[in-house]
């Protein structure tokens, strides 16, 4: 085999790796390769999953300077501090649970990284200027999905309207009848709202309605 005195040209490095990869193994049995592949697969998948979960924590979100303003606003709200001590964290509201949507959200969030580097929202002033645009993106997502992330925790079916305050119960009954979704009425549930948010929200809702 190691017959280097033939004048055939030695293939390049990448070519040799490629050929080696696709040649049958002379030294490893099929069983060995299957078990090794299985173990490698388990470890690769476990590592991938672990990394994905690491980027799905509140600590990760607010590790970015750009996200600390949201954090400050959110810590004044009911989803951070309430009588039962149950919390909703950033990913609870902003990252879907369902695998395909979750992966999509994670990939789309790579634009966060780009904007962090160019500093799109690195001061409070810039943040406020940019807020309506970002909020619009979130509203569009939530309206489209019938507020899927809210419904991971809340559900009309299990609300006891008799112990809700009258206005809430009445509006929720109306929402059920008219097929409205949480974000239609509960904008600004976790963050400050920009001026002109109602008009913008209506445009979003009408746009989606028209697209149907």
């Amino acid at each position: 085999m190691a017959n280097n005195d033939s004048n055939e040209k030695r293939p390049g490095f990448i070519r040799r790796i490629w050929n080696g990869f696709w040649s049958p193994s002379g030294v490893l049995s099929l069983g060995f390769l299957l078990i090794a592949g299985f173990l490698g697969g388990v470890m690769a998948w476990g590592g991938f999953h672990w990394a994905l979960e690491e980027t799905n924590t509140e600590e990760f979100c607010i590790s970015c300077h750009s996200m600390t303003k949201n954090w400050d606003e959110y810590t004044d709200t009911i989803h951070y501090n309430n009588h039962s001590g149950v919390r909703a964290t950033c990913p609870d509201c902003h990252v879907p649970h369902e695998w395909q949507y979750k992966v999509k959200a994670k990939i789309m969030a790579s634009k966060d990284l780009y904007h962090e580097i160019i500093g799109t929202i690195d001061t409070d002033e810039k943040y406020e200027d940019h807020r309506l645009k970002m909020a619009t993106a979130v509203w569009t997502k939530m309206k489209k999905t019938d507020s899927r992330e809210c419904r991971n925790c809340h559900s009309f079916e299990y609300m006891d309207f008799t112990i809700q305050e009258t206005r809430a119960a009445a509006d929720h009954q109306k929402a059920l009848d008219e097929g409205k979704t949480c974000i239609d009425c509960h904008q600004g549930i976790a963050h400050g709202l920009p001026t002109g948010y109602l008009e913008r929200y209506e445009t979003v809702a009408e746009g989606l309605e028209a697209a149907k």
Partner: protein, 85 residues
């Protein structure tokens, strides 16, 4: 009893079992395989106790090492049986 069974199963499906087996498959030397497996067992217990040896349960540690050692040896057996190198 169930507690111990659960701990053993947890270790088999976690680092000592999986990584121990994989490391064992990388050597033909029984002693090296056993030690590698045992090291994984210690490392895992240490990591999952939040890097605090004071919080390590001796029984948990023993089971993790045991599973790691066995996995390493099984890995070594696969290597000897399934490969000529």
């Amino acid at each position: 009893m169930l507690d111990i069974l659960g701990t053993i199963a947890g270790n088999i499906l976690s680092l000592p079992g999986i990584l121990g087996l994989a490391l064992g498959m990388m050597t033909r030397n029984l002693l090296v395989a056993a030690i590698l497996g045992g090291v994984v067992g210690v490392a895992e217990t240490y990591i999952f106790s939040g890097f605090d040896f004071a919080r390590v349960e001796p029984l948990d540690l023993a089971i993790a090492i045991g599973v790691g050692v066995i996995a390493g040896c099984v890995g070594r057996a696969i290597r000897v049986r399934g490969a000529t190198v």
